[in-house]
């Protein structure tokens, strides 16, 4: 079987052979969107490399030739891992690899990262078989740090916090992609791209709309613009939950992308429960303002390190306050009832983790400063230490000192309409709880989408 495939609209190999990322790139091609020329080396090659410790004969030449067919003058590439099941942050990406000299080492490094102990542990914990291996994507390098008209970003087709039908995400001007998701650099709201690169904005928003029509789901893309030219590097369905998921299901049905049965089928009991997320009632004196990155209001004692969050959490709710977070803070994020960062945007590490955990989070509160060594937090309302109670609102991005009350916005027309559709499906209109109404509808719906 072919071990190197050109990434194109025609590429339709299973994810088990070429990985999820290559399939996303092929989908971008089919949408007619600009993707840097790329080839993918299959997971089978990875399995061989892991068994023998070296690349099969002629592979580097084959990859180089396949890439030069697509891009005759290609000289610098990025080599990315891409397994069938996403293993975020566990494997290697090597940027700025010179062809063909450095390719051997970069490919071996990416394949070997499949077997790093940490990746093995991750797979054990997530029920992913160890024998599969990862594909490797060799892609012409586009450089977001190249000049004043370059940058990188991530974009959602709809706001993943509220479900509003507006593009949402982060952009960094003059930086490469890894900086955007690292949380180490202060990102800008995606909308700033419109002012900085007015020609690219309509191109990006049109691409998001087109991707959504194809996937019939909210989409997530990673992009880089290099010298004023837009390139897409990743496409996948955007994970959304709670109020946002309800609203998007209803809006997609109204737009005719899915039918009402599918809107109800996609809604989970968990979404319904979280659709009634409270927001801060009366903020009073604001201690800070950031971006809401995980909805909900929570009060808790301040911890400024992951370690102290774990310790303090033994005595009640904790809000972890960090300049930014990294995977090294996972234990603290897990222990905290809420998360506040002073840097980072709505798709930074802290935001993604908070949403995954269903924790309220505010990110990028630039008017707050944290000193984890001294254990102090300086806010617009004064400087306080670890253990002081603070309240965050992960919907509005507001931060106040002390305990603050919250209110539930009961008027949610999307929720009401969706539950009405659920009753149409079940044929049961007796008064009962929202969870029961959804469950009765699910009972008569197939487990997977019925496309008629």
């Amino acid at each position: 079987m072919t071990r190197v495939h050109a990434v194109s609209a025609q590429l339709d190999e299973p994810a088990a052979r070429i990985g999820g990322k290559a399939r996303g790139l092929a989908e971008l091609h089919r949408l007619g969107l600009p993707v840097p020329p790329a080839v993918v080396v299959t997971t089978g090659v990875c399995r061989g490399v892991l068994a023998t410790g070296r690349l099969p004969g002629g592979l580097v030449e084959e990859v180089t030739a396949a890439l030069r067919d697509l891009a005759p003058r290609a000289s610098t590439v990025a080599v990315r891992s891409g397994a069938a099941v996403s293993m975020p942050g566990m494997m290697r990406t090597v940027l700025g690899v010179d062809l063909p000299g450095a390719l051997d080492g970069a490919l071996r490094e990416v394949f070997a990262s499949w077997d790093a102990p940490r990746a093995r542990t991750y797979r054990t914990l997530h029920d992913i078989p160890h024998h599969r291996g990862t594909a490797a994507i060799v892609q012409v390098m586009v450089d977001g740090a190249r000049d004043g008209h370059s940058g990188s970003g991530v974009a959602f087709s709809r706001d993943p916090n509220t479900g509003e039908p507006v593009p949402f995400g982060d952009v960094l001007f003059g930086h490469r992609g890894p900086d955007v998701v690292s949380g180490r650099v202060r990102t800008h709201p995606l909308g700033e791209l419109a002012g900085r690169e007015p020609a690219l904005w309509p191109e990006l928003t049109a691409a998001l709309a087109r991707a959504e029509r194809r996937l019939r789901r909210p989409c997530y893309v990673e992009f880089t613009h290099e010298s004023g030219r837009l390139w897409f590097l990743q496409l996948r369905p955007a994970p959304v939950t709670g109020r946002a998921a309800l609203r998007i299901a209803v809006d997609l049905a109204d737009a005719g992308l899915i039918d009402r049965r599918e809107a109800v089928r996609r809604t989970t009991g968990h979404d319904l429960e979280h659709a009634r997320t409270p927001i801060l009632a009366d903020p009073g004196v604001l201690a800070g303002q950031g971006t809401g990155a995980g909805p909900g209001v929570v009060s808790g004692r301040i911890a400024t390190t992951a370690g102290s969050a774990v310790r303090l959490a033994a005595d009640g709710p904790v809000v972890l306050v960090r300049p930014e977070t990294s995977p090294d803070d996972m234990h603290g994020l897990a222990a905290a009832a809420g998360i506040l960062t002073t840097r980072g945007g709505p798709a930074c590490h802290a935001a993604v983790v908070a949403r995954a955990l269903g924790r309220p989070a505010v990110v990028g509160a630039a008017d707050i400063a944290v000193d984890p060594v001294a254990g102090t937090v300086t806010t617009r309302a004064g400087t306080v230490g670890e253990g002081t109670v603070l309240t965050i609102d992960g919907t509005t991005g507001r931060v106040v000192l002390g305990h603050a009350g919250s209110t539930v916005d009961d008027a949610d027309p999307h929720r009401d309409r969706l539950l009405g559709w659920a009753d149409d499906i079940s044929g049961n209109r007796s008064p009962r709880s929202a969870a029961d109404r959804l469950r009765d509808a699910h009972a008569v719906l197939p487990a997977t989408e019925d496309r008629r």
Binding site: R118, P239, A314, D328, D329, M330, H331, A334, L357, G358
Partner: protein, 205 residues
């Protein structure tokens, strides 16, 4: 012959690595007896190096001077032992294991739930817990080698190995808090070791 750290420095340095804490936890970290620790704390307090906070969270902690004194004395101890390169190598190996340990802690606290969501691990799925514990045990084996190297470089690092092993034994015996959720947990001891390595080498967080 490994260096022997004097008890007053052991107490001082434990407070540096654990933050504010009580006598019993210092005893667990140093292997000293509580009475001896109290007398060291009184002397250190008289010298202005440690302070006792009162109230519901009463505990001992370092003063700014105590922090400076600890940095100076641990640096001198390391210089006298002449094993800085070995401790740096130990930190490098520790940092290779650290992300994996944190993944394991997260997996102990959270598990995959319905609809691809992550839910709090309520420890009702023995298969999940067993899987995480297996990986904990595997990592612990690799950590033991790092601890042995560090102990050869500086004797006081020898206290970490038995504390980590004890925590893991307790988890296996059914005390589920001893993995990540108590001050004597594997994670808590691990975090102390991390802080100790950084403090000993004078590397800021």
């Amino acid at each position: 012959m490994p260096t022997t750290t004097p008890p007053d420095l052991l107490v001082l340095h434990t407070l540096r690595c654990t933050g504010h804490t009580g006598v019993e936890r210092i005893a667990a970290a140093t292997g000293l007896r509580c009475a001896g620790i109290e007398s060291e704390l009184i002397d250190l307090g008289a010298a202005g190096l440690v302070v006792r906070t009162s109230g519901p969270f009463a505990a001992w902690g370092l003063s700014a001077r105590g922090r400076a004194a600890d940095a100076e004395r641990t640096a001198a101890e390391l210089a006298a032992a002449g094993t800085r390169p070995a401790v740096i190598a130990g930190l490098d190996r520790f940092l290779e294991l650290n992300p994996e340990l944190l993944d394991l802690c997260a997996a102990w606290q959270l598990r995959p739930g319905p609809g691809g969501r992550t839910v709090v691990n309520d420890h009702t799925d023995p298969a999940h817990d067993a899987r995480v514990l297996d990986r904990f045990t595997d990592l612990d084996r690799r950590a033991a080698a790092v601890c042995a190297e560090l102990t050869a470089a500086l004797g006081r690092f020898g206290r970490y190995r038995p504390r980590l092993a004890l925590a893991l034994r307790r988890v296996r015996a059914g005390d589920l808090r001893e993995a990540t959720d108590s001050v004597t947990s594997f994670h808590a001891v691990w975090a102390e070791l991390h802080e100790d390595l950084l403090a000993t080498l004078g590397i800021p967080r």
